[in-house]
Symmetry: C2
Subunit: 454 residues, 2 copies
């Protein structure tokens, strides 16, 4: 019996072979698509469906690509020729919310923002807030080790998961982690699964660490600087001062100009860069005033508002970045991260790369944690060779500054050829062997992450 026949016999109409659905599963939000077309999509609704799919995949040695909402930016969930797409998007239940223990037990398919709307009724929240929060799943957030805007103050996914339930390649179910705040029983496999991009198993449940909702007025500060270097210097000085904003977003001149165009706003001052900062908590107003003072010392032209509507309007400029880039062509959205003191130097490197390769690279940054998203713009669907060369230059510059080639998007297919550059060959091989312990047949997301020659 063929693989498809076995899947259909076991899982009935959960098995989807519609051409349009298969076509969609080839790509994610990076714009990159896998070669060929997957065999089928299994829309798992229960843990048992996931286990059954993996048993068939193991028995038939068929590659499996686990997929949530398909909003990734590294091609990690793109499915190609002959692969099974195992979708957990229908597994959206919130099984338990415990405000007293600050934890929730959820299925992987629930959208980040949907979960947080539900948690808000209990006075709690799950802190990771990728820009994709309205469209990305909690399972996808875990698979990529997602970050977001609030990370410098409130942490990333790695800081916000107590345990995961994982189905192995052969269909066995493991419960990793625990429900208690502390726990050091054996190796920390929960952390190992976070950010493993579908190479170790299928996340079918998670015990999330929650925070109590923050009280107080959210204050928003918008500061304009003569150029991006002075904005980066001001943000690094602000971190060094001990200020702890909830959000600190930096936009360079090209990003600002593009967003103002799509939002139909007056053109910004040529060359000017912007910091958009929010403070929260009981001391937010005093903190905002102190931050404004530091920014002014660093050449900032500063406006502070305590009005949440006006604050949201200011932040909407930053949130429109993807839309603005899409209006200019195709964007390769990069994701380097450096120590915060190195941000000015990293912007210098980006300026050098722009000159050297004749490119415009509009760049935004989560400046509170040193995570930059340079957007390499080009025409057409395929990333041209010279853009990849420029990206290569970018990665090397970030690593040389003590940083990393991906802060929050992951390796997927798009960065696998650089993985060993950062890890070193010995660590790369060790990581590949660890993945093989989970997946001895190599059927989980083959060609992703640990596949240098592809």
């Amino acid at each position: 019996m063929s693989v498809l026949a076995q899947l259909t016999a076991a899982l009935g109409d959960l098995v989807d072979t519609r051409a349009a659905a298969l076509e969609e599963a080839r790509a994610d939000r990076s714009g990159h698509a896998a070669e060929g077309r997957p065999l089928a999509i299994v829309h798992a609704e229960t843990v048992a469906h996931v286990q059954e799919t993996m048993r068939i995949a193991t028995a038939t040695r068929t590659p499996v690509v686990v997929r949530g909402a398909g909003t990734g930016l590294a091609g990690a969930a793109n499915a190609g020729e002959g692969e099974i797409v195992l979708s957990t998007a229908r597994m959206t239940a919130v099984l338990e919310v415990r405000p007293d223990d600050l934890l929730a037990v959820v299925e992987p398919g629930i959208l980040n923002a949907d979960l947080n709307r539900l948690l808000a009724e209990h006075g709690v929240w799950w802190a990771p807030d990728p820009a994709s929060r309205e469209i990305s799943t909690v399972g996808g957030n875990i698979a990529t080790g997602a970050g977001g805007l609030l990370c410098a103050k409130y942490g990333v996914v790695r800081d916000a998961v107590l345990g995961v339930d994982l189905v192995l390649a052969d269909g066995r179910l493991l419960h990793l982690g625990h429900r208690s705040v502390k726990g050091v029983t054996g190796l920390d496999l929960t952390s190992l699964v976070i950010g493993s991009e579908g190479t170790l198993g299928v996340v079918v449940g998670a015990t999330l660490k929650l925070r109590r909702r923050v009280v107080g007025t959210v204050c928003t500060i918008a500061a304009t600087f003569p150029d991006v270097r002075s904005a980066a210097t001001a943000s690094a000085a602000l971190t060094a001062s001990g200020a702890q904003p909830a959000i600190m977003e930096l936009m360079d001149a090209a990003s600002l100009a593009a967003v103002h165009t799509v939002l139909d706003l007056p053109a910004p001052t040529p060359g000017a860069a912007q910091l958009t900062i929010q403070t929260d908590g009981p001391a937010s107003e005093a903190e905002a005033d102190a931050i404004a003072e530091i920014l002014r010392v660093h050449q900032g032209s500063v406006a502070v508002t305590h009005d949440p509507v006006e604050g949201e309007r200011l932040l909407a400029i930053r949130r429109s970045m993807h839309q603005a880039m899409a209006s200019l062509g195709t964007a390769l959205i990069e994701d380097v991260s450096v120590p915060r003191s190195a941000m000015p130097a990293m912007f210098d490197e980006i300026a050098r790369i722009e000159r050297q390769y004749g490119l415009t690279i509009p760049t935004v940054a989560h400046a509170g944690d040193g995570n930059l998203h340079p957007n390499f713009l080009f025409a057409g669907a395929e990333t041209p060779a010279h853009v990849w060369q420029a990206a290569d230059d970018l990665f090397r510059a970030a690593i040389a500054l003590g940083g990393t080639l991906t802060g929050e998007h992951g390796i997927g297919t798009l960065k696998r050829r650089w993985l060993a550059d950062e890890l070193g060959d010995d660590q790369w091989e060790l990581q590949r062997q660890i993945a093989r312990v989970f997946d001895p047949l190599g059927i989980l997301n083959p060609g992703k992450v640990f596949a240098p020659d592809a």
Copy 2:
């Protein structure tokens, strides 16, 4: 050439075979000692010394026990017959302190408290504060995934390490992690090493995530309750209320009485239990008042002080617990952790176990994170069989309540026989295989953690 001769040829007088030193290396602060006597202690002073030792160990298939200050409580660093003790206690350098990037790069042998005294000059601190902080090393804190008193508010070791440098069993050096706040390049091996208790490699350096020193008055609250259950209920209610004390320590009646005796204080009210709580930060005084109110509602007799000297005196009662237990006989110090709402139920289980086995089990708890330290008291050096049975009962009760058999001390030798009970056989075997990827010959801490039949 014998192993000892090879070590001496390569490392000269760093190789220590004095009888008293070898005898000391057999035991840690648990009181448990390994069988037989180790071959030698290598007092490594550089990474190269560690690498050379591991190359000889690999070539000769000699087991290696990595050891810091020997203050562990699970027997993980105890060295027995024919083993090499690889001590990193002399590697105490602080290579870099960067208050602007909130990181420090250190060698593993520096004592936790020494590091924090040095960091204080820069206005920063490393948050993990095990009760052993004056005598335990940062490397040992990493190897055990240590916790402490401040964890509910400020996190455990896992939350405070950006990267580790690790020497593998064969002597190769790997740099795991990164210096940036965010980073998702490949698998999170840094987290895997934290808490791995010497089974994956030798930690020879660490990039630590720092916090800025907290400003404001530290307020201390001492509250007495009629019995331990009402104290546990009050602490769980306090967590559920959203209050966030920096420290919340619970002592039961037997602990209180023992400490009052050794400190020559008036005897406490029979049966009474105590919570000692500290608040910090800019709003500490208001928080202390709010906490006092909640405790009074839950039958607490409450005193609040803003005087740091008086606060330290109150906390000293808690800090004298180990000394008090030592005065009563030998103590098997246990370390279960449960969701915070389950603390009253866990104390009920301890009372049941006391009755059932005819034992007194003085218990203290880091009540802010649900981590309990029951002290099983007995005469003589060897833990009697019925005490192990009672401990077995305790572990099963903690796991049944959604908890874990070790919150911060680790598995070592003392809990290896229960590891599979918590992990399940499949996960236990997977973890063992992962350890084998790092250490194919099984020379790193054999008989520890993954050794069920010993």
